[in-house]
């Protein structure tokens, strides 16, 4: 029985080219990876040695060189997730679904690191790991929101349902970011205290300013590098499942011709 769109053995399709990579690396990721590594090394040198302690924050400013870039990269990640979610509901292509998912996972990692660094900073500055500092509180609430997003993606269902449901959550979660920010700010409005962001010297200069921007750049490059790898991994996982599907269709048809 031959029917259109049948499973054709997929040998002899590609003309002889250089062998396909056996990993998620490519030239582009290797360049990005190298840049990220060099940048990281430079950030360590600048952040831990070259920059002087801050006039107000003292040595703790060195934690901010981690804290601020991770939270910025996380927000970039969640915005990408939201944009990709909208695009998925519109275009319905696998690309956007996988991009949204990959970006959210890395965003969650960066949020976790933000909270981790914030707590260490708090331990030095306040003497306790946790205080209801608005930014830290907001970050934690949003972190939990996106854990929900990742949990939804792990529920076994059809790819289409998974894509639709998680796209909706990716959109709602990002809309909730400014609302949560505002609410938490007002909530803590009565209790002024030394905050991580509030105390960063707006007139930061020289090597400090340079290091702050270097940190941001390094983490954005790291994010891009991780995102490409994570996306390709998601892509490979879908392809592997699809191969299972081709086999299942063939098997299903055989079942018919037997009876």
């Amino acid at each position: 029985m031959t029917i259109d769109g049948s499973v054709s053995p997929s040998g002899a399709v590609a003309p002889a080219r250089s062998p396909a990579p056996t990993s998620t690396s490519s030239r582009a990721t290797r360049i990005l990876g190298t840049v990220a590594l060099v940048g990281t090394a430079a950030l360590v040198v600048f952040g831990l040695w070259i920059t002087p302690p801050d006039a107000q924050l003292g040595e703790t400013i060195r934690i901010l060189y981690m804290h601020v870039p991770t939270v910025s990269a996380a927000y970039v990640a969640f915005i990408i997730t939201a944009v990709a979610s909208v695009a998925y509901l519109w275009k319905r292509t696998e690309f956007w679904d996988l991009l949204a998912a990959s970006s959210a996972e890395i965003g969650v990692l960066f949020f976790a690191l933000t909270i981790f660094n914030g707590m260490l900073w708090g331990r030095i500055t306040w003497g306790v790991f946790w205080r209801w500092e608005p930014r830290l509180t907001t970050t934690t609430v949003l972190f939990l929101t996106y854990l929900g997003y990742l949990a939804v993606r792990r529920v076994p269902t059809s790819t289409r349902t998974r894509g639709t449901v998680s796209a909706v959550i990716g959109i709602l979660a990002v809309v909730n970011i400014p609302i949560t920010h505002k609410a938490v700010d007002w909530w803590r409005g009565l209790h002024q205290e030394k905050t991580i962001f509030g105390t960063v010297d707006p007139e930061m200069q020289g090597t400090q300013l340079f290091t702050a921007y270097l940190g941001l750049t390094v983490f954005l490059v790291l994010f891009a590098w991780l995102l490409i790898h994570r996306f390709r991994l998601a892509w490979l996982t879908e392809r592997a499942e699809e191969q299972g599907l081709d086999a299942a269709i063939a098997e299903r048809r055989a079942e018919g011709s037997l009876s």
Binding site: S10, A20, T24, S25, L48, M66, L222, H229, W235, L236
Partner: protein
């Protein structure tokens, strides 16, 4: 001196976590690419 320990923990923890995550996805990428046809893993 305690301060230095917390700062070190922040840096090591952050880059350690990123490195561990990167190693994890790259390893899974290698495993997954073995299951997939060649034309499906030609990256740009």
């Amino acid at each position: 001196m305690n301060e230095a320990a917390y700062i070190a923990a922040a840096w090591i923890g952050t880059f350690g976590a990123v490195a561990a995550y990167a190693a994890w996805i790259i390893r899974r990428g290698r495993q997954a690419s073995e299951l997939v046809d060649e034309q499906d893993r030609r990256w740009m």
